[in-house]
Amino acid sequence: MSWWRAATVVEALRRPLRERREATAAMARACVRENPALGCYTHVLAGDAAAPLVAGPLAGLAAAIKANICGVGWPNDCASRILTDYHSPFDSTAVTALREAGCGFLGLANMDEFGMGSSCEYSNYGPVRNPWNRERTAGGSSGGSAAAVAAGLAWFALGSDTGGSVRLPAHCCGIVGLKPTYGRVSRYGLVPFASSLDVIGVLARSVADARLVFRLLAGPDPRDATCAGPAWSADREEAPGAGWRLAVPRDLVGGALAPVAAKDFEHNLIRCRQLGWIVDDMDIGFAADPVRTYLVIAAAEASSNLARYDGSLYGIAPGNPDTGGDDPPYLRAVREVRSRGFGPEVQRRLMLGAYVLAAGHRDRFYHRACAARRDLAARMTAALRRYDALVLPTAAGGAWPLGAYRHDPVAMYPADRFTVPASLAGLPALTLPTGLDDEGLPLSIQLVGAARSEEKLLAMAEALEQELAFRAGKEAPWWRTD
């Protein structure tokens, strides 16, 4: 087995630049070879994109970029047919930061179309397969990013998280997933799904790797009016100690966990206590269902954000207009191109978004959901004044079989039940792999911190990572054939 298959970025950076370049070149060849079986990339890149000759802290390494993060030199189709062959003329701020660090790009990571999904099955490129078990989901919507990192086909990856889209795939693939605070990392160049929830996140093989990348991304951006930063600050990085205070919001955890996952979760709480941390039980006291609150808000914002895809300036061209009664030809052309270009799940959510935003409905639906959201955010923020982090599972169990929800897509929505609270509250959250279930699939724990407390959250996660001594790179069995 080649050393780079399981190595972290931190380990790679201890080696000479020449070795890193060779390893990344071998990784790029492995991407071409292995991607057809995994489906983690929509496009594999080569040449200067994968191996730029730029000096910097990540020189010689290369990342996977989720297909909804814009950059010059590759197609940005968000795994959607409607954006076929769309090439962004500008770099996202996150991609610029990686370029300036000398980082290359191995490919565009497969995803659920526009980020709408939890299993990476709603992609124009077919599903992503989980490297631990190819009949299982890699999670979604950043499933390609997670699978690539777990399978050793990228040093790390950028994903995006709207309701759990970084954390759920990290959980399914046994790697670290960091969703930063809303507004700490620029969204400029991230194709929006739900603008008030979207965040660019990091998927990595270790907490230290996630920190390394996050340090490059964090900071204010004049091109994103909602991005106030701040940049990474060592002053915020409190030394990990015996004094961390954690709280388990029992009412958000509920009784939804699979028995093995529940056992793992409680076991991890014990390990936290063994580290000398305080772990209290508490109730957040939020009266509504976070998932449904999230669905109303996300569908509303998605239907607005995706209105621009009409086939006129970019993407697939309009075909024969539908028979739209006496509507003008332009509107019929828009309907035709959108109905052909969007997949069924996106269309479902756009319809639901139109429903909750329609004149006379906003106060009853969208605004009420927004008010519920503010209530949840206030409750979580209040709890985080008393505790350093909230502890939650990331998912109810290990990765589920592909196709399990084929006939009932709505039944998949609760997969996000543990991740949407942090999204609704705009808080940073980190998924840390903790072990394997009885089917050999990864399990994880999720830490949610106060706004802009990523430094502390990462310090906490790193201490727990050392205590649990589980790392995907060490345990994963699937590339022993290499």
């Binding site: 809303y182 507004g183 929006p192 603008s195 008030s196 009016a225 909602t226 509504a288 269902d289 449904r292 109303v296 509303a300 239907s303 954000n305 209105a307 006129s312 061209a317 309009p318 539908d322 739209g324 006496d326 003008p328 030809p329 332009y330 509107l331 019929r332 309907r335 035709e336 109905s339 969007f342 269309q347 479902r348 756009l350 319809m351 639901l352 978004g353 139109a354 429903y355 909750v356 935003l357 329609a358 004149a359 006379g360 409905h361 906003r362 106060d363 009853r364 639906f365 969208y366 605004h367 009420r368 927004c370 008010a371 519920a372 503010r374 209530d375 955010a377 897509p409 709505v410 509250a425």
Partner: protein, 101 residues
């Protein structure tokens, strides 16, 4: 549930109605209606302090074919809007919607 038909919603969303999805969608709209009806009635929706994007507040209710700042001129054939490209535009023409009735 709502006075809006699925066809109305499809028009708002810029989509053709999906007959096969009718039952699923109606069930979901029903679920949303019931869920929101039972949401705790909180304060007036004032967004101050919320993490939402200040410039991107979604408030899309006014959309709809034929609505908006300019009424559509139905005589115009707009079926295929040419690609945006400098130099593509040939001759200035009056806006189709500036004339008074």
């Amino acid at each position: 549930m709502s006075s809006m038909s699925l066809e109305d919603l499809a028009r708002l969303a810029g989509l053709a109605p999906l007959p096969a999805e009718r039952a699923v969608l109606e069930a979901r709209m029903q679920a949303v209606t019931e869920f929101c009806a039972h949401l705790p009635c909180l304060e007036d929706p004032d967004m101050a302090g919320a993490p939402e994007a200040a410039l991107e507040k979604t408030s899309a209710g006014d959309r709809g074919p034929g609505q908006g700042p300019r009424p559509l001129d139905r005589d115009l054939a707009l079926a295929n809007v040419p690609l945006l490209d400098a130099g593509l535009v040939v001759a200035p023409a009056p806006r189709p919607d500036t004339g008074t009735p």
